[in-house]
Symmetry: C2
Subunit: 523 residues, 2 copies
């Protein structure tokens, strides 16, 4: 068992931390050299505020109206219904209604900021405030790469993305179902996935949620690693999808209750495609997301007061001519921006509905345009946790290896962006002007030499190079140039150390579980 | 001569204009149907404010320090030096120094907002305030498309980009040197370019600046079209490049004076590659841009009080390992954001240093990632005029036909984004919830049917489609799918009407000029 002596030191507070010009560049050099751990990113630039107070209040009132007039159904979960009834909500059949303000009041005990611990304490992160946590894509049944093409994801692919994420300096969360390993039985798949996160990475991760007993297995495995430490600290996170509109099914709310009872991190994710699981207008989608999210957070608090949560969202627009889902669209990005504001007002960490998401089938211009737009609006909105930050293609159907490394590199750029500018004597560089003059160049000034290596973010991907060279080398697109990167990373990967006793205990647990369950390949 | 009866009606003021849900969608349908004119975009969401007051003041003081301690040189332009001397600046040789605050004070007479008129009054735009003007790339010697590959640009390419821009609903400025037509003599090229803008488009445009006499020719041609209207209205714009660091060469300052004397729009564009034409740190680049920009604006005011100007910027970072210029980098984007704030404080319209700019050689993932980042930070920063909004590749060496249509489509998305959200009863859609219930879908609600067609931005580019279809059709990238778009546009292009007398006068002017000048192919 790992020795977590006590809780980790409090995170830096925005504004009080030392200035860090060139920190990213130095960080990168260290990481490249010896995989030194990269500290969690902190947003040092203002969050973008899209909506004014009046609009925010109108949306909050709409969420209250939805919850009092329409309500939310908890299907097949009498325990949840009983908890809501006891708390004073109106329960009729599976339908739960809340007086205006009631759901929000129930959310008040959720912490605004908390630590999510990694197996390696240096990999733990803070959720909330100005802290930013990036993680890879979640849930894709397919993977693709330029060598083998698109195919169903396997457990090997799952492990590969855990390893790539472990090696990525800019992703500080191992994710959950980084892809769906369809070559292992569906009813024990969670064991293989949780093991991969615990064994091949030391970053925080997500456990199984597809059935309450799988949630319990995930917690049991976490306990083998974290022991009693997890009685008072969050070491695992659960992605609780809402069956939007306005329905929680018993599987999900059951899993929610298992994680909440253990006081582990519960992320509530309404998933609304405007015009299908909610109205076609974005203000309605935003309000419905808030309403659905508050109810899940309220349930977590009723199960265990102070349960750490995340207000999530996932929303898509549609091409209203073809009916195809669209990602990174302007309308969806506006909702992303608004939801970060609303989450801050609710006082809980926010998971952005963005990420590097796209409808494209390959890591082409469309993919990176959509991904970049969704990601930058997420980051600027002040979201705390950004899922699908790397690898996502085809509306989430596919994790792409080349897309993954391109996205991760872009994550590094965005984390440099949110460091902002340090305006001080050194960065204003009067010395450099005194050393040169009008018309002269600054390449060899002392100031340039002092800052040259660390001034700019350095991409980890191969450059296109000048046109002629690029042409000679086969006019390779960025996607093609990225092909070697993930292979080199996997080749260089070394599994982090683990206590052999802990590893054996994990394997024993999995073996026992697997032998007690008949193999099932479909839910 | 066109009949501009008087100045055009004042533009809508932010906040007072009618709400326009679905306006973009409706607009698009109209445009597609009959090329109806699209009104100029207005940013209805807040500008992003990166820097706090303290940092802004530090940068402004740094600009003042540069101008008082180092100064700016005007090489080969005694008239400019005399104007500055008369205004109280210290002139020694070519060097001009300003007491702190002096250059800023000289800028005070520049208008904060003004109209830039198109040949068609309905195409006129407002520069300044919350108005947004997008224009194509500027200055590329090469063009590329997937059929013919990369090649030197010709006058035909120039005309093509003018035509494509004319047809683009989201670009409301025809640009200037949309590519460099190297198949026509260098000393009369400006005549062909200005004619193309005036004949093949009706949108505002830029004239020649590569010599004072070419500036005069451009004004003379504008006068053939606009007549006395241009004595009191801006109908042409000049791109005045600063020879950074801190030098104006006589050609550029001469051209500046020609346009300023005619009270036409003068855009000052310092061009700083951090580490070369200025220090490697972004705060210094920002302050130097402001210093160089203020001096150009000051000169315009000294030539003609109230001359309409734009504070421009163009900055690039470097890959500090390879020495290659990088575009859309986080550091450059931070400078873009800061400069919009500083321009607003100076009280003049701002041209962003961003745009859809990239170092990539083709419209691949890198190209669109870099372009999107630079463009979104430009738009959110509140920049008023965004150059290089479409077509730019290879650090500006090349205009790409496919990149152009992909960029333009993205412009449409961004202009939708800055319309923001209208939170009202209709958009909150309570009716839709009363018509459905938890677990039901919203596709056939009255609210969805009412808004279905207009809710979301509709891309003009072909969709990738579902994976299997996409695979069958050859796994075409977005760039490949865009190939047909520009060809269809050019095929559908019809030249706007022009008074035959005006056209003849323009042609006569050009013929006379050309016959009076010996052909020159190199400057």
């Amino acid at each position: 068992m790992l020795n977590h002596k006590s809780d980790l030191p409090a995170p830096e507070k925005p504004g009080t931390a030392p200035r860090r010009r060139g920190r990213v560049a130095r960080r990168e050099a260290r990481v490249a050299a010896g995989r030194e751990k990269v500290p969690q990113a902190l947003r040092r630039i203002p969050a973008y505020t899209l909506l004014d107070e009046e609009s925010l209040i109108a949306i909050e009132e709409q969420a209250d109206w939805i919850l009092s007039r329409i309500g939310v159904e908890f299907r097949g979960d009498d325990t949840a219904l009983a908890l809501f009834r006891e708390a004073g909500a109106t329960v009729e059949g599976a339908r739960v209604r809340f007086d205006p303000g009631h759901a929000r009041a129930l959310c008040a005990t959720a912490p605004a900021t908390y630590r999510l611990h990694g197996r390696d304490p240096d990999r733990s992160v803070t959720l909330g405030g100005d802290h930013v946590v990036l993680m890879p894509g979640y849930g894709s049944p397919f993977v693709t790469d330029l060598d083998r093409g698109r195919r169903y994801a396997s457990l090997e692919d799952f492990r590969n993305f855990v390893k790539l994420t472990y090696l990525s300096p800019w992703l500080n969360h191992s994710g959950g179902t980084v892809c769906e390993p369809v070559d292992v039985p569906v009813n024990t798949r969670h064991l293989d996935m949780v093991y991969a996160h615990l064994r091949y990475s030391t970053k925080p991760f997500m456990g199984g949620v597809t059935a309450p007993e799988r949630a319990r297995d995930s917690l049991d495995m976490a306990r083998i690693v974290f022991g009693g430490f997890m009685d008072s600290h969050a070491v695992i996170q659960a992605n609780i999808n809402v069956n939007s509109p306005l329905v929680y099914d018993g599987t999900m709310s059951g899993a929610l209750r298992v994680y909440a009872a253990a006081k582990q991190s519960v992320a509530i994710s309404p998933a609304i495609f405007g015009g299908a699981m909610g109205p076609v207008s974005q203000p309605a989608v935003i309000a419905q997301t808030l309403a659905e999210g508050m109810v899940g957070i309220a349930l977590a608090q009723l199960v265990r007061t102070g349960c750490p949560v995340v207000l999530g969202s996932f929303h898509s627009t549609m091409n209203l001519k073809s009916g195809a889902l669209t990602f990174g669209s302007p309308e969806a990005n506006l909702s992303t921006m608004a939801l970060s504001q609303l989450g801050r007002r609710l006082g809980v960490p926010v998971r952005s509905g963005g990420g590097q998401i796209t409808a494209a089938n390959s890591a082409d211009g469309q993919a990176m345009q959509e991904s970049s737009m969704a990601m930058l609006t997420s980051i600027l909105s002040g979201a705390n946790q950004i899922w699908h930050a790397a690898g996502w293609l085809e509306g989430g159907l596919t994790m792409g290896y080349e897309k993954f490394v391109m996205d991760v590199d872009h994550c590094g750029m965005l984390l440099r962006l949110i460091e902002g500018l340090v305006v001080d004597d050194e960065s204003l560089a009067r010395e450099a002007y005194l050393d040169t003059g009008p018309g002269e160049n600054f390449l060899s000034t002392r100031h340039t030499l002092r800052h040259f290596e660390q001034a700019n973010y350095l991409s980890a991907l191969p450059e296109a190079g000048p046109y002629e060279t690029w042409l000679e080398q086969g006019s390779r697109t960025a996607e093609q140039r990225a092909n070697g990167c993930w292979k080199a990373m996997l080749a260089a990967y070394e599994a982090p150390a683990i206590d052999p006793g802990v590893d054996e205990a994990l394997r024993d647990f999995i073996d026992r579980k697997k032998s007690s369950l008949p193999e099932r390949w479909h839910e």
